[in-house]
Each structure stands twice: as C-alpha cells, then as structure tokens.
Symmetry: D2
C-alpha cells in the first residue's frame, strides 16, 4: 500500500520559499520532492508586488539587513539561470525606488535612513521635490522630497515562484501538487519522511516551508513557531504609456511599475485574516493613497484586485533552522512580506545545510526555530 | 454565391432592443432573423443594473412617462413567458426603490416628484429618516428622508437580454451572431434586405436596432439619427447577508440589491466615450458615493467592475418608427439608460406595426425618426 | 483569546451536504454556524451536473433506493422555498432521462431495470429506437432503444449548493468561510465544540460534513470512516437552439441539457485522485462518448471544462449517524455521486435527530458510521 | 468640432501588422498614430501559436520564400530591442521544428523539401525514426522519420503584438483604441487622413492594416483586395515537465512547446468563418491528431481553447503597397497564417517607403495591391 522511495529531501510547501529550496538543492545535484496541498505558487507568492526592498524599508543594522542585502545580490545571476533553465523571464529590473516624504516627520525619518544606509556602505540619496518631479513628472506636488534607492529592484513575483519550481523540475526534482502532508514520519527519534493523503514518502531530510499552514506539522514535534496570516490586498491598473518609472512608496502604499504599462498598487495589512476576500474598504484605502501619490492614476484602466496571506511571526523574523531534537527536520517559514526578497538566500542556506556547509559570514542565530518555544500558546494564539 | 431566403423581418442588432423585437414578433408567428456583429447581448444590455425606474427618475407627465409605465406593466407576464420558453429566470422583483434626499434641495425636488406621481395616479411615498432607517438599517444617518416607490422593480439585465433571444429561437427565429451588416439592400425605392459580410438576406422589413452602431446604415438612406455613446461604469460587491433590500438611489449613484447578496453599484456617465475601459477614477467616484449611502458596504467583498456604452440621443428620447421614404425600414435605437425598461414596449410596438396595428392610446410622435433630419451634421457630430 | 458562543449546532463543511443541513436546521428554528476552510460550495458540489437520478441508476430494492426516492420527492417544495428565501432559481426541472441501450447486453439490463422499477411502483418505460429518435431527433441512429424515466429530474448543482447556504443565512444561520477546523473540542467525554484556526466555537452538537476532508477530524475520535476522492471531469458546450431535451445517459457518459442551450457532458471517474486537473485524456474520452450519443454535438460551441472530487466510501454508501461514544458528534459524508440528490433527505434527517425525532419509515442502519470500524487502516488506506 | 493634428502616418489596425509598422516608423523618428476599433492585438494576432516557419512550410523558391527568410532574420535584434524598450520578453527561441512523415507520400514530399532547402542554401535535415525518438522520446512510434529545421524558431505571438505597440508608444507614437475609422479623408485626389467615430485625423500617409476588416475602407477608393476570414481553432495544455522540446508538425496539426511546460496545439482552418466560437468538433479533430503525434499528451492538463480569424487572400499572398491613384494610401493586409513571421519585414518595408527608400533586393511586385482589381466582385465574393 505505502510506496517508498528515498529522496535527499522532502520539501513541504510549494510557495516561493519551498520552490526556491527545491531549485537550489536540485542545482547542487540533490534529488528532492516538492509537495503542495494545492497548486504551487498560489498563496502569498502569487500576491506579492515583487519589490526587492532590501534598503528602502530597513533603517537599522543587524542580521536581517545583512540577510536582505545578501539575498538581493543573488538576483542578477538567478534571473539568468532561471531564464536558461525554463525560458521564463522573472522580470528582474532595477529602476529604483522612491520613498516619498509627505510630513516633516517623514522627511526626518527618511534622512536618518539615508544616513544609516551610507554608514553601512549602501547607496541612498535625498531628492528635493523638484528633483523628484523631474524624475517622475506625474507625481503629486504635495510632497517634501524623497529618498531614492537605486539598488532596490523588483521582480515579477508570481513568475519567480513558478520559475523556481519549473527550474527544479528541469534539474530533476519530483513534484506533487494537490497532495496534503498529513503527518511527519518519525522513526527512532529522527525524521524519516512524511505521510501524505496518498502514500508514505521517505527521506531523512524534511523541510517545512508551508507559510501559515506550517503549524499543524510542527505541533507533531512539539515545536512552537507561531505564524499567523496578515492579509494584504492589492490591485492593478493599466496605462497606455508608463505613468511612473520607479517604484513610489509612502505610508504603507506603494505603486510598482510593471512591464507593459501595468502598475501594481499595494497593500493593506489585515491582521489574522485567513479569508482571501478583497474588501471594498481595502480598495478604497489603497485607491485614495494612490491618488495622493500620483493624481493622474485616476485615468488608468482598472485591471483587477487580489489578496494574499503573508506569514507573520511574533518578532517579524522568519524561522530558519534545524530542529534540535528531530535531526533532519528543518523549518523555513514566516517570511512575512519579505518572502520574494529572501527566497534566494533561504534556498541557498538550506542547500548549504544539506551539504554540511555552514554560513560563517551570516549569523542565522536570530532566526532560530526554537526561539519562541517557551511562550505560552495562550499568549501567542490569536494576535489582534 | 448570394443566398436568398425570405423572412418576415430582418432585425439588425442583438442587444436587448433587437432581441425583444425578435421575441415579440416570433410570438406573433412571424419568421424573423436576428443579426449581430458580435455575440448577442454584449454591449449596453450586459452592463445595465436592471432597474425598472419608470417612476423614480421621471417627474413630468408626457409621452415618455406613459411609455415607461406601459412597458413596466409588461414585465410580470413577460417574466413568466420567458421562463416557460427558456427555463431562464430574468430575476424580476419589486422590492421597491428608495430615492434618498441628502440636501434640502433634494428633499424639495423629491416631494415635487411625489406630488406629480400622485397627480397621475401612481404610488410614491415620503419616508422620514427614521422610517428609512427602519426599512434599511445599514443606510447612512446623513440623510433627510427618501421617496419610496414600491412599483419600480428590477430585473437581471444580462439574463433578460439573452432570454429574449433564446425565447425567439424557441419560437422559430433564426439567429446570426458574428455577422456584420455591411449595407442595406434597396430595390425599387424600398427596403429589400441587407448585405452581410457573408451573404444577401432578403426581407421587405428591416429593423435597425444597433444602438450606437446604427449610424452607418442610416447614412445609406440619408437618415440623420444622431446617437452617441455615453459610457457607464459599474462595479459589484458580494455580501454574506443581504445588506440592503431596496434599490437605493441618490445623486447619480444607485445600489441595486441582487439575489445571493450581490449589490451592483452604478453608474458613471462619460459622454462620447467609445472605449469600454473602466477607469480608476470611475471606481473612485462610485465607491465614495456608495460609502456615503451605505457606510458598511466597505466590508463587502469586491467582485468585479465593468462598463457599457449607452446610446444617447440629442433630446434623450429613442428613435422609434418607420422611414418616410424607404417603406419597410424601421429604427428602434437610442434608448440611452432606459433600454431594459423600454424593451417590452419597443418589441410590442414593432410587432404591432408589422401586423398593421396602430397604437392608438400611445403617441409615438415624440420618437419620430426624422425629427432631427434638418440639424446639420456638423452641429450634432461630436457632442462634448 | 478564545471567544465562546453557544450554537445549537456547528456544521463543518460548506458543500451541498453541510449547507443543506444548515438550511433544514435553520428552518426548524435552530441557531447553527456553518464553517468551511475555503468558500462554500466549491468542491464536489460545484462540479456536479445536477442529475437527480433516483431511478435511472438503481436496479435493486433496498434502503438506498428508498432514501433516493424520498429525497427526490423533496425537491419541488425545496425549489419554491429556496426561491422565496434567496431569490435564487435552483433550476429544478423534470424533462426526463433517457438511458440508452447500445449493445444487446444493455438492452437486457435496461429491461430488467424497468421491470424492477415497475415492481416497486415507479414509472419507467421502454422506448424503441424510432420512439427515441422521435423524442430526440439529434440522437445517434446507432442505438437499440432506451429506458425513459420521466420522474428523474435535475437541478443546477452549483446554484443549489449556494442557495442552501444563503437560505440558512436568511433564516439566521451564522457562516464562516476560510476557516479551518483544526480539532474537535471534547469535554467530559462528549462533544463540546471545535477549535478553528481563529477561535474556539462551542456547541454540544457538531456535524462533520466535509466530504473527503472529514478524515482528520474523525481520527481524533478514533472513528474509521474511509472516504477517498474519485475525480470526475466534465465539460460544457453551448448551442444556439437546444440540441436535446432530456438527459441522455449511456455507458458512463451523460449529456444533461441546461437552460439557455447549455449541455453538460460528464463524467470520468478517476480513483483516488486528489488533484483537480482536467486531463486532455479525460476530455477525449468524454468527447468521443458524447459524439457517439449525439453526433451533431460537434457543431456546439466549447464552453469550459472542470472537475470535482467525489467522496467515495468502501461500500458506496454515505456515512450518516451519531458517534456511539462521543454523543452529539454526527457524521454526514461520503455521498459519492449522489450528494445533490441526497442533500434534502440528509439535511432533513440531521434536523430530525437534533429535534429528537426518529425516522421510523426509513432505516438508516446501512449508513451507520461505525460500520467500517474494524477494517484495518492498512487495508482501506489507499484503494486503487 | 473636428480636431486636426498632423501625423507622419495614420495606421489603421492595431494587430501585429499595424503595430509592427507603428514600431518601425517610430524607430525611424516618424510621428505616427495607431488606431483600432477595439483593443490592440485581439484578433488573429492573439490567436497565433507563434511558429516562425519560414522553411518548414515552403518548398519552392520565389519571392514569398525570400520575404519569409528576410523577415525571420530580423527577429534576434527585434527581440532585444523590444525588451529594452518595454521590458517585455517576446519569447523568441530557436529550438527547431520537426515536420513528421507518417505516410510514404509524406516522406517523399519532405525529402523534396529538404533538397529544395539545400538548393537555396538553407539548413534542413532528415532524421530517421530512431533519431526522431532520441530527440523527442515522447513522440509516437507510428512515424517514418522527420524533417528537422533548426532555423525555424518561435515567439509568444500575443506578447509580440502588444510589445510592438508598447515600443511604438515608448518611441513617441500616439494610440487610439476603441476608435472606429468610418472613412478615409480624400482631398484633391490624394489621401488627407481619416474620419473616426470621434474626430478627423489628418496625415498625408494612411496605412490600412486591418486584416479582414480592411475591405470597407478600400471600397471607398475602389480598390478590390478580397480578404476573407479563415477561422483557426487552438487549445493549450500544461505539463509538469516539458513533454517535447521542438515544435512537432504534421498534416495540419502542430504542437508548439512554450515556456513553463505549456504546449499549444493548433490549428483548424474553417473557411469564411467570421464567428470566433470554438467548436467541439474543432477540439476533437486537434485532440485526435495530437494524440497520434505525442500519445502521452493525454496526461497533460487542459488549459483553454481559443480561435482567431486569419486574413486570407485569393492567392495566399498579402497585399503590400501604395495605391496607384490615391498617393499616400498604403495597404498591408492579408498575411493569412504568416502575420507573425512577416510582421518585421512588413513594418520595415512600410517604414522604408515612408523614407523614400526602395527595397532593391526584395521584389514586392507579387504583393501589388491592384493585382485583383479586375476580378469581378461576384466571383471573389464568398469563397467556400
């Protein structure tokens, strides 16, 4: 009844994180199987606008900043490699990101961010209102300058997610869509595989990368990694001629210009919302914010609205690491809004672990998967 | 090469007007062919919210009011007949329409409308703010009463349009979708049929019901019926439980409750706009107006947005009648926002004409198709 | 953190079965909450063609036949009640079903079925090839007569499923879409509610109606109700004029005429297939079978293809009943291809149980939920 | 009322031909306006599989072959230029095309084609059945070798069409979607612009590139260029792992592998069919042919079906050239199934003409737009 086959790793979750792990492991010659309970790349991964905001959103030194920068640097070769393996263009571009100041408090904060960026050797530049308008003629006149980050690029998030999986397949990975992992298979105190809705799959390495759905499996090994959903709503518009050339970002609203004149406007943050319904209120909030940033966007053509569930954690950092007791069991989940950006470094780390390499130059201590082990379930249960 | 077949009538235009004519003529035993350059029921007909606002929008006596009331009265038997012939439920209901007063000028105008309705023997009622709220608990508190019209119902406009055509087919009508009428066939000074992209179709009766696309054919017979497009944008939302029970209408924005918890919010009016793109600005306008009428609509789920091109005329009245010179050539076009409401009476009139009956009790003089014959083309060409 | 509220019943699963239960219980004045991990009515319920084949597929007396006939008889009042409550037309019609004989073995089997139907007092009639052709002129000439069942009707399956839920809401039911039930709440040896992804819901009555997803919850109470998926693929076509008037059925392929000229062609049966992908092979099989039954269907317009996962059991009978140990816990799942047909009687039974009524005239013994308790998991695990 | 503006050219028709012309003219610094009665790239252009079959379908020397080869050679730089201007990847690849022999007559014909290709200095190679299978392991065993053409590549046809238009816009072109050209504006015996549904547009150069809709405008200048529609139906499937790597072609059925595991299967040819409905018969024909070429395609996932109207001419050659009497009026239409392949050379030619350059090395005499001037309309009217 139960079939057995031995893989180098079983990866549970076919979002951008699991697919990246499948790709990087396959690229090192390991034989993996990637599993999802639905189709690959349908949840948080499909919903992202694809900003690679390593600098624009971070204003303090620390391991997260290093991780983000390291990951961002992996995109140029990644784009080439994925195109060669799959023919898919992940739309990697670096047209810059403008973080706009509207209040005087904004201006102060942005200038501090610029100072921080310079202190760590990154580029970031203050543009006066005139300079901003020269660069983006359609931008609102109601602003007080902006921080320009040339280094922060973007990708086509849904394509990236699928391209990872397709590239893994091209390199020999097996895939199983519409397959639910019902439990982990533990033998002699260590991981031995998973039990799916259809069969038993065997491997001495299992990676849980199921975003907000990771919890049930982790409970089985008494690991407390609270990950809860934060719904993000977005919409897109189409323009005949590109309205903006850089990503424009302010007060939680971003306008990301995509190829062919499309602009993605995102994103709301609705705590602990499992449902994926886009609300009229969500569209209203985004629409008003977008009009304030680029008034002429009202003439653009409505395309569509959608949402995604981002996997948030208690401290905003992902869980990355191996289980202390059940050797061979890894977690890579909880990337919140940074899943696209952090996907290459996450895939690379897991592939390194599998090869027994350690990341000397990059401390993963802050991402320890046991770090919330002693917080009571009651307390973390249902944040509001 | 050219095929010939003799129909009792050739109907050019498969929108709600042409389809209604096909239905009423078929129901009288005439053999007709209904032609459209695309699919049936795709233009203004598919885009309407389906309000049958015979009373709510009219505040003066006159032939248009009579036409509207007469047509409204045809819906109950029509709904039954179409269901019997096609199995399709046109969603005819009479849950009333609330026209809401917000300013004191609104209140005055609405009360005059009520007085007018009473003077012509129609029901219409003034509700105080408290009464309105009792009837519609989700309605905004920022209003000053409303006019309630119980008699004005609604239908599912896209279904109505298709049901007419399907019922006509069930009664023996022929149909030709994706067929463009390139010119009228005139022989010995009277109509003899049409020439399509594929063949010659013969009949001594041709009815032009092509909405904003009627112009080219009419030019051929030197008839000046200026019809220009007015784009109307709409969107719909879904609610778990019905939020409102009546249609709520004010200042150009209406909220029409549909079965299953759907609400249609409409509609903008963009003069002389042939393109069917829904603009972000259009959605923004409707959304703000809807929030003002029913604040809790922000919690509803976004469904979709669409638009339609309404065929407007210089005096706001449709063209209905026979060509003075080319006998057998009829026009039924230019119904603007009243196409759904007026479709039964229009179909019935054309069927009466074909049977040589006259409408004694209903003057069609105001709809004469030659009434704008002497207005210079330059003047009417491109209204703005 | 955990909210508590007391319902008369918590219904887990918003497919046609769970929604029917919610409707019937609400109609009796009970306050229920209906929960689904996704949207309501999206799985087996949305995929069905809606045949109410109480007679056409059954040729032996027994409790299942009684159940099917009893349930079929509930549709006429149900259609009226749901329309009144929700405005939705479930498309209930009784235009008959033709089960076509192609081989001589078919003919023999069909005539035995007719004899059986007569023996239990049901109508069923043998039509000669000529009679069949007279009734359905587009049917293939390659047949040897057919069994006509006038009593077997049909409904619009996706509408039925949604209408149940909307009617329940209209009657006061609460609903929770996008809510995953993570475990049952057991207190003092009896059911006390469920724990969802978001909160604890309390009731002393929980009904599990989750089709193929029922297993995980039942494991918690050590109940072995093996339910496995059987994928059914379908497609639909559109015709200008109705091609057929009855449902035509033979050798696993049925053509169900729907309103507006649509025909649904179904359905393949792919054992133990959790994925919902429609295969080219599935379409090919159905298409060839449909062409053999109604050759002129090749001229029909392709509309779309889809699939659903039917919840199959070891003996083909649903599980209906209360848990022997954990009082208040009910199962109503595993209706395979009969979910639409059996939904009214299932809803009614559960409502009866909740009111302490017993179904004297209808033995539910064959549906006992403990009947497969002693079959080893290994044996039932993964049927092929 | 009438606005006037002077463009270097007005291009009527926003399909792949008109858009290519707009791009090449804009790239030479000319100011053009591109007009379509609907959205750009929606008709034949969106429906094509994108094969660049310059060699595989041609087996005689002549101007058409030269045109095709010249055009094919323009794709590599075109792909780069369009990506740079718009960010869009037109999916240009050269993975080869296998034209499969099934009968002995096929084999003979293919070997003659190879001999012809060699005689004109082109590459083409005969592969034995074993070699074919080695290259394409999923191919049917029921074949007798194949012709391999390495030089024939493919593009993503819908993307190409849009990318031309977007690139033209990036270079300064104006665009007008949803704008119907009602007539040509002729002044003093030469072209002076066009009259649209909204305004008069002025230019002393007008290019008609409206495919099957070109006729009405050409009638105005008494030009007889019979162009009639040939409907082509296609469908696509998705595979987890790429099933084939080359385009596989035989007896009117081709399987074109696209990125991400998609395969497009095309195409039927339905003469004089204006309607765009995909028939069940069309799918059946393609499906059976595809199964014969690659049996395991039955396991692929159905994606969707669509159709396009290809503009066919009496001799199978497009119309390319200037009107003899009305100077400044050009026609570029009737490219049948070669519109994607011939789009670059067509755009380049028209741009050359506008600059007064002649194409010395490429005779356009066979494409003369007056070549069917003396064929009676009756005769060419409605080919069957």
């Amino acid at each position: 009844m139960t079939k057995s086959k031995f893989w180098d790793a079983i990866i549970v979750g076919g979002g951008v994180i699991g697919s990246s792990i499948a790709y990087y492991m396959s690229a090192r010659g390991m034989k993996v199987v990637l599993i999802d309970r639905d189709r690959f790349g349908q949840q948080a991964s499909i919903a992202a606008a694809g900003m690679l905001a390593a600098q624009a959103e971070i204003n303090e030194a620390g391991p997260f900043f290093d991780l983000a920068r390291t990951s961002r640097a992996l995109f140029p070769p990644l784009a080439r490699d994925l195109q060669a393996l799959t023919g898919m263009d992940i739309g990697f571009t670096r047209k810059g990101l403008l973080r706009v100041g509207i209040t005087s408090a904004d201006v102060e904060a942005l200038q501090q961010t610029i100072a921080f960026q310079h202190s760590v050797g990154e580029q970031a530049e203050w543009l006066s209102t005139e300079q901003v308008i020269q660069r983006e003629p359609e931008i609102s006149r109601e602003l007080r300058g902006a921080m320009l980050v040339e280094g922060d690029g973007q990708v086509d998030a849904p394509v990236l997610s699928i391209a990872y999986a397709k590239a893994a397949v091209a390199l020999g990975a097996d895939i199983k869509e519409f397959t639910e992992v019902r439990s982990l298979l533990i033998e002699h105190g260590r991981i031995a595989g998973v039990i799916t809705s259809e069969e038993v799959l065997r491997s001495d390495r299992v990676i849980i990368a199921s975003g907000i759905w990771s919890g049930a499996l982790l409970e089985q090994v008494r690991l407390n990694c609270p990950i809860y959903p934060v719904k993000g709503e977005c919409f897109s518009v189409l323009t005949d001629k590109p309205l903006i050339s850089s990503t424009i970002f302010s007060h939680g609203c971003y306008l990301v210009p995509k190829k062919g004149g499309r602009i993605i406007v995102g994103a709301t943050s609705k705590l602990h919302s499992y449902d994926r319904k886009v609300t009229l209120g969500g569209i209203s909030t985004l629409l008003e914010a977008a009009k304030k940033l680029v008034p002429s966007i009202v003439n653009a053509e409505w395309e569509k609205a959608w949402s995604g569930l981002r996997p948030q954690t208690l401290d905003g950092l992902p869980y990355l690491g191996e289980h202390e007791t059940y050797k061979g069991l890894y977690v890579a989940a909880g990337h919140y809004r940074n899943g696209i950006l952090l996907s290459p470094i996450t895939g690379k780390c897991v592939a390194d672990w599998a090869e027994g390499k350690s990341k000397k130059h990059l401390s993963l201590e802050p991402y320890r998967i046991h770090r919330h082990q002693h917080i009571s379930q009651e307390k973390v249960g249902f944040p509001t």
